[in-house]
Symmetry: C2
């Protein structure tokens, strides 16, 4: 159920309107690397001298704590919930609240968890807040988009793989973003190619070109499949630093995002 | 909300108990290729002379109609809903019912859609029913597992990628399967390796070995990333026939599943 008015929700809207820029990272379905892209984007913005927060709202299976090896007790003060500080960025995740407990399965509980984090996290001063949205086009995603509705400082970055099977789900997401009147920054094509012995292979095809054409989207980045990424995450190193190729791809993505805001 | 008794649900249980073997294909999260594995498995079983049905219960984003290019009007008779007949197998999907309409977002509606297809599809005589479950460990998945609970003819095949980030979600799924007391057939590692110039690369790591060790699971198959798969799906050819490598991998998987039932 979508309820448009509640005090926590309103507080969340106010919270978000105070942040200079919000990048909501969305995907038509799970498993396309949305969370790794969110974390790497936040870390790269921070390396570029920005004050950055990362808010993981994936209530289906929050993976930001796994990716950043972020653990610790959450502290609540009169000013709100204090985000963790990991690799130079402020981090808040639904996963930090529920930890090893079962995920909430009811819509109402998921919505509450999202409202709670959006409304009560005390970010302090932020240049950028990167939001890792729930995957897909369910109620939870709509709920977060409603919190962003009409905010001039917010835009959505859509992550997909180039696979033909991603097409219909991404189209559904793009139509939903239009309906909710949220600005779309552009498309990130993840797992686009694999560099093998100096040659580039595209094991999942090139079907995202259809999205660029049909929706007039900007292709913001085409990210490689990087075998060293898994090991970096396993060892708790920042994911985008796993290879020079990935690191520079994220630098270019940050530049493209910043210039899309006219900087 | 999980309700254990309703007439449609009971009819579904009776429906399922009449089928010789049921293979429910599950995944901890989306994007691991669960639907492509389900479809290829069903088609391979059929090529081996079995009478096969494929039931797509993914209410988050049913992709079986996209994979098999299955389209057509559903016909309901006094005996129930008639599945489509595609590439030699009987096919039913939530996607056939809702087509281009928005997906149901409320839990209760998703549950109804599942009960409807499980309870009312008239499969006729079947050797195997392959069920493509919703991804993850949400209410919908639990709802389907309840329909399978205690059925001696049913088992769950868990699909994952070898990625480190799949570990925690698959563990959550495996614990849920134990709680629901459903037989686990084993694990399928999808997108395991990429054959490049005669050499095998594992771009997503080898982290599923931990699952085999920790849960005492059988590794039923290790499937390649096959660049020709995308084009086959795009053109409407059966996905497992995209390469000899994939085709023979699915033959071996079928053999392993059949022998797990003592055949």
């Amino acid at each position: 159920m979508i309820v448009d008015r509640d005090p926590l929700f309103e507080r969340g809207r106010k919270n978000l309107s105070r942040i200079r820029r919000i990048i909501a990272v969305a995907a038509g379905k799970g498993g396309v690397g949305k969370s790794v892209v969110s974390a790497s984007l936040a870390l790269t913005l921070s390396e570029r001298g920005r004050n950055v927060g990362l808010l993981d709202l994936d209530v289906h299976g929050p993976s930001i704590p796994d990716i950043l090896h972020a653990k610790g007790e959450l502290v609540a003060t009169k000013e709100g919930l204090k985000p963790l500080f990991v690799h130079g960025i402020k981090v808040m995740s639904t996963g930090l609240l529920i930890e090893d407990n079962p995920l909430p399965t009811k819509g109402e509980d998921k919505r509450m968890l999202i409202s709670f984090l959006v409304g009560l996290t005390n970010w302090g001063d932020l240049d950028y807040l990167v939001m890792d949205l729930p995957p897909g086009t369910g109620d939870e995603t709509i709920w977060v988009l409603r919190a962003l509705r009409g905010l001039k400082n917010a835009g959505v970055l859509v992550v997909t793989t180039p696979s033909v099977l991603a097409l219909s789900v991404v189209k559904r997401l793009l139509n939903m973003l239009k309906d909710e009147k949220v600005r779309i920054i552009g498309l990130v094509e993840n797992m686009a190619y694999f560099n093998c012995e100096g040659k580039e292979y595209r094991p999942f095809g090139s079907f995202s070109e259809e999205l660029v054409r049909e929706f007039g989207l900007k292709m913001m980045a085409s990210l490689p499949i990087d075998p060293s990424l898994e090991q970096a995450i396993y060892e708790g190193r920042p994911p985008h630093e796993s290879s020079e190729e990935l690191k520079s791809a994220f630098y270019r993505l940050c530049e493209a995002i910043e210039s899309s805001w006219g900087e």
